[in-house]
Symmetry: D2
Subunit: 260 residues, 4 copies
Amino acid sequence: MIYMASSANSSRGIAAIVGVGPKLGRSIARKFAHHGYTVAILARDLERLWRVAEEIAREEKAQVFAIRMDCSDSKSVREAFEGVHSVGFVEVLVYNAYQPQCWKRTCFQDVGIDSFHKSLAVSSIGAFHCAQHVLTGMMERGRGTILFTGCFASLHGIAGFSDLCCGKFALRALSQCLAREFQPQGVHVVHVIIDGLVGPPTRRGESMEEEEGKNEIVGGEGSMSMDPDAVAQTYWHLHIQHRTAWTHEIDLRSSTSSFF
Amino acid sequence: MIYMASSANSSRGIAAIVGVGPKLGRSIARKFAHHGYTVAILARDLERLWRVAEEIAREEKAQVFAIRMDCSDSKSVREAFEGVHSVGFVEVLVYNAYQPQCWKRTCFQDVGIDSFHKSLAVSSIGAFHCAQHVLTGMMERGRGTILFTGCFASLHGIAGFSDLCCGKFALRALSQCLAREFQPQGVHVVHVIIDGLVGPPTRRGESMEEEEGKNEIVGGEGSMSMDPDAVAQTYWHLHIQHRTAWTHEIDLRSSTSSFF
Amino acid sequence: MIYMASSANSSRGIAAIVGVGPKLGRSIARKFAHHGYTVAILARDLERLWRVAEEIAREEKAQVFAIRMDCSDSKSVREAFEGVHSVGFVEVLVYNAYQPQCWKRTCFQDVGIDSFHKSLAVSSIGAFHCAQHVLTGMMERGRGTILFTGCFASLHGIAGFSDLCCGKFALRALSQCLAREFQPQGVHVVHVIIDGLVGPPTRRGESMEEEEGKNEIVGGEGSMSMDPDAVAQTYWHLHIQHRTAWTHEIDLRSSTSSFF
Amino acid sequence: MIYMASSANSSRGIAAIVGVGPKLGRSIARKFAHHGYTVAILARDLERLWRVAEEIAREEKAQVFAIRMDCSDSKSVREAFEGVHSVGFVEVLVYNAYQPQCWKRTCFQDVGIDSFHKSLAVSSIGAFHCAQHVLTGMMERGRGTILFTGCFASLHGIAGFSDLCCGKFALRALSQCLAREFQPQGVHVVHVIIDGLVGPPTRRGESMEEEEGKNEIVGGEGSMSMDPDAVAQTYWHLHIQHRTAWTHEIDLRSSTSSFF
C-alpha cells in the first residue's frame, strides 16, 4: 500500500529508507528529501509512517511515499519494493530496521527460538532481501549507495543479548561482502555503527548547515543521547563522498559516552 | 536413532561432537575418546557416522554413540540431544557443523533465499539450539566446555560468500555472548578460527605426543592442508585449560599459508 | 621560522596541518583555509611549504603560516608550536606526517635500528608531542579537533614493513587513548584510515560542493588513486560533526580497490 | 654477565625467556626446563634472576643461564645475546618484558617524553632487537618459535595509558609482520594476549599434567588472578603445535573476569 504525500516532480532517483520511526529514520528521510530526493519510507506502522511522510513532504516540499513493509517477511519486502520501483529507480537504500524486543537483556536459556529467528530475520535476512531488490538497478546505472545501520552489538558479543548480536554481526558481514563485490561496479556500501541511543533532535535545522563551524553547533550541549539530525548529516556525507574516497565503516557516538 | 559402537563403562561426562565428517570432526571425536570420554557424534549422514563411530570405538576402546541430526531442524536437534542426555551429562560440546554449498563463490544476485536461510540455520541457529540443550546441565555442575569452529569468513566479509559470512559472523557473536554470560559460572566457551583447508591426517598418532618437541614433529612437512589430528590437539588443549587461564578466541593455520 | 603568506584578519582559531606535501596535506590545508581558518602548515621542506602556503593564501584569500618542523625532533616540534601559538589558538590539529623510507618492502633482518626508531619517532612520538602542545589550549576552551592519518598498516601487520606497521599501530593506540580521555572534555579525536595511494586532484574545486549529488561528481571516473580534495572533504566533515555524533574511526579507499 | 645454574648436558636448543620476574616469566622458564630445554633467562635484576635460575635448575634438573639485560638498551641486548649464542642455538624466544611504570593511570598531559620513549623501547624496540638476534639462526635451521606477551592494552586504547598502549600496539604489529614474513620459513610467531593480572601459582605442579581432565584442576578455585603455571602451559602448547596448525593470536583470561 503506497501513500504519496506530495507530488512535486523529481528528476532524481529515490532514496528508500527502511525502518522509520520518530527518530533516526525520520531525520535521514528528511535529509535526503531536503537535498531533492524523492523519498520512500518503509516500516510496519503505516499510521506513523504516514504522519512522518506528510510532515517531511510539507516541510521540505518533497515527494514522499509511505509504504508498509515487514522486513522479516520476504513477500512483504518484495511487494513493497515493487511499489517503490513503480515510482522510480532506487539510488539510495538506508537499512535501519531493528527489532525492539532484542534491546533488553534476557538470560540465554530464556531466549525463545522465535525471538532468535525474528532478530536474524529483521537484522540480516531483511537486509539481504532489500539489497537484492535494489542492486540490479544500481548495477545497470553503475551507481548507488547502500547504508546499513549497525550498533555496539555489531562488534561485540554482550551477555544477555545473543539474538541482537547474532543479527547485527550477520548484517555487518553482509555489508562487507557487498562492499567487496559491488564497489568496483559503482555501488557504495557503508556500515554505520551508531554506538549509543539516538534521542529527539536537540537543535533547529538551521544550525546544522555544514558551512557553520563546530563552535556554534555545540553550544549548550549537555545530554548523552545522539541527535538524529546530526547522525543523518553523516549519512548524507557518506552518500556524497567522491568515489575515489569511499568509507566502508564508520562509528558515531556522543562526545560524553565512554566507549570500547 | 542412536547406534552405540562400544559399551565400555565410563565415569566421565560425554563429549558431543556436532558435524562429523571424515576429517576434523572425526579427529576431535577420537581425541576425546582417547582421553577417556564417552563420545556422541552427530551429523546428517548416519552411514558415515556409523563407520567413524565403529573405527573410534575399536581403535580407542571407547564408548561412541552415533546419532543422526540435522542442525538446521530444531526438532531434529531436540530429539538428538534427548538421545545424548539419555546416556549421560554433556561435559563438552564441539560445534563443527557447516553447509557445504556455502563454500563456493556465488554472485550475490544469484544467492537464493533458501541457501541464505540454510546457512544461517546451520551456522548459527543450530549452534543456538545445541548450546541451549547442553547449558542447563553444565550450569548445574558448574563446569563444561563449548568449542565453536569458525573460519576466515568469521572475521572478514568475502565477495561472493555472503551466506557463509553472515552465518559465521553470527556464530562468532553467539560465542562471545555465551562466553560473557557463562564463563563466570564455570562454562568455558571458545571460538576456534580454522583459517585454511583441513586435509587428511599426515602423521601417525604417536608423533603427536605432547611431550615431544616441535623438531621431530615438523620433519619433512611440505603440504598446505591442515592436519586434522593437529587441529584436534589444540581443541583438546583448550578443553583442559585451567580456569584462571581460559582462551576465548584462537586462530589456526598452516605455516605455509599467507594470512590477513 | 615562520613565513606568513597573507595577513587577512581572522576571528577563527588556527588549523595546524602537520606533514604537508603536494597532495593530501595541501588539500586539507586548503579546505580549512576555504572555510575561514587561519592555517599553519608544518613540515621539513620549507621551500615546498612556502610554495603551498603562497598558493593557498592567494587562491583562498586566507592567512597561511609555513613553519619548518621535524616531527622526529622534540625540540623542533616545541619551537614550531611556540611559533603557532604566537599567532593564536590551535583549534584543529591534523597529524599527517609520514616517513617516506618506510614505504618500501625490506627484509626484517635488513631493517636498521635507525630506520625503526625513525619510523616510531615520526609516526607516534611526533604525534605524542604535537598532541601535548595543543591539548592544553583545547581543554581550556572545551573544544578542538585532532585528526590522525592512518593507513592499511595501522590495522594489519605486513611482511617486510615492520617499521611502518609498528609506528602506525602505535599512532592508532594514541588516537584511541586520547579519544577516551579528552572527548568528554570537548576535544574530538579521529583516526582516519586512508587505504590506498593519494594522487593528484582529479577534479575542479567547484564540483566538490557538498550540496551536489553524487551523480555529477563521479562522472568519468576511472583511476585508482584517491583524490586528495575528496579525502580533505571528509576531514572537514569530521571536524564539523555535532558533538552528539562524533566519529572516532573511519576508513577511506577508492571504489576500485580491493580491500581487507 | 652469565651465571650458569647447572651443567647437565643438553641436546636441545635454548629457550630464551626475556623479562623474568617471580610470576609468569619464571613459570614459563620452568616449563621449558621441565621439557628438557636449556633455558636462558634475561632481565634487569640479576639478583632475582639468579634466585629463579637456581630454583629452576634444582627442581627441574635443568641447565639454566641467568643473563642481565636491559631491553631498552640495544647494546645491552646485543651483549646478552652474544652470551646466549655462546651457549647454543636459540630455538625459542619468549618476549615477556614490560615497563612497570606504565601500569598506572597518568593524565596524558603529565606523561613525560622519557616515560613514553621508555615504554616504546621496552615494548617494541627491545622486541625488535631480540627478534633480529634470534631469527638468523632460526632461519638457518628452518625452525623456531617466538612468543610475544601482550595484554588488554594491545587491542584497546585506554584513557590514561597512552605509553603502555602505544608500546603494546606496536609489539602486536611486530608480531604480525614477523609471522607473515617468517612462518613460511618455519618460524612460528605467536602473540599471546594475557587479559588480566597474573598472580602467584595456586596449585601444585602435579595437578597440571595435561592428561588430567578439567574437573580435578578447577576444584576450589575462587580467585581472579591468573595462575602463572596455567598460562605457561598454554605457551608450551603453542610451541609444540604442529606446523600445519599454528596459532598466531590467542587470548587468556580468568573465567571470572568480564572482558571486551
